[in-house]
């Protein structure tokens, strides 16, 4: 058991420090994911404005 733990410890000491890449990876995942959600919200807002404007136009009497 002790030799097994020593092996694990030795392997962990050799584990590269890649935390910076981990953070960068999840930042990019967040940017792409949130970016897409923002485009959805932006398009939705614009379409709601269009609907309101067109409904107002429709209610008005034609000249």
């Amino acid at each position: 058991m002790q030799s097994f733990l020593a092996l694990v410890s030795a392997l962990q000491e050799g584990t590269p420090n890649t935390v910076a890449y981990l953070i960068l990876g999840y930042v990019i995942i967040g940017v792409v994911g949130v970016g897409y959600v923002v485009t959805l919200l932006w398009r939705q807002r614009n379409l709601h404005r269009d609907v309101e404007m067109l409904e107002t136009l429709e209610r008005e009497e034609p000249e």
Binding site: D50, L54, L57
Partner: protein
């Protein structure tokens, strides 16, 4: 399936689904960052895989739904099938973009370079371009019926790139892309090369991204319905002006 919406308010079910998906994402993040152990040879960057693979799975699911919608449209043309197929491609492309953007970060840490023309990576790039072209080509066709017919056929044919990316490259001997769940030509055994907590985090990520896809798809369909409503209003006003 959703029809052309006249009510602007978000359905309670969609609000609840969105909140639930957000909660799932938080749990998936906890499992990826804290619950799953650090992989010994790659270090912490391996944790990128939980979202990278989850998004890849959900992207493939999205493109599969587009095939289904395309087949249904070709059997019996109805605008709702076209809306479903179109929306699914857009959401799928966003999910595959997550996979394509996060992969090079992992590759830079592990391979020392962000990209190689490995069969798996090349097939993924072809898949991404195929579906980006789907969205661009749709915009070039004005007649709605023609556009929907074209998009249905394209959506079915483009799925070949998904099959090539996820299954075809398993026959490639020379791929350096990791194969987590075997077998493949490069890794012939069927063992899953992950510890139990890693499997839990990965499976949870698969489920979470399925919910992310479903939630985004519902929002995207509602957006398309709103766009159809705008078009219908424009036509009504134009016709009234002409009359």
């Amino acid at each position: 399936m959703a029809t052309i919406a006249k009510n602007n308010s978000t359905p309670v079910a969609l609000t609840m689904l969105t909140a639930f998906t957000g909660l799932m994402l938080l749990i998936a993040t906890y499992l990826a960052f804290i619950f799953a152990p650090t992989e010994i040879t790659m270090g912490d960057v391996q944790r990128v895989f939980y979202f990278h693979v989850g998004a890849a799975w959900a992207g493939a699911l999205a493109f599969g739904v587009t095939v289904y919608a395309g087949v249904r449209y070709l059997i019996k043309p109805a605008p709702n099938w076209d809306i479903l197929g179109h929306s699914s491609v857009e959401v799928g492309l966003a999910l595959i973009s997550i996979t394509m953007a996060s992969g090079p970060i992992w590759a830079q840490a592990v391979w020392g370079k962000p990209w190689t023309w490995d069969p798996k990576l090349t097939a993924s790039a072809v898949m991404w371009l195929s579906y980006a072209a789907y969205l661009m080509l749709r915009q070039g066709i004005e007649d709605p019926d023609r556009r929907a017919r074209f998009a249905s056929i394209y959506g079915i044919v483009a799925f070949a790139s998904v099959i090539m990316t996820y299954f075809g490259v398993r026959f490639a001997q020379e791929t350096i892309h990791p194969v987590i769940i075997g077998p493949s030509a490069s890794v012939p055994d069927t063992t899953i090369r992950m510890t139990s907590p890693m499997i839990v985090a990965m499976v949870f990520s698969f489920v979470t991204f399925s919910f992310v896809y479903g939630t985004l798809l519902w929002h995207r369909i509602r957006l398309q319905n709103l766009a159809e409503r705008v078009n219908a209003l424009k036509m009504r006003i134009l016709n009234r002006e002409v009359a």
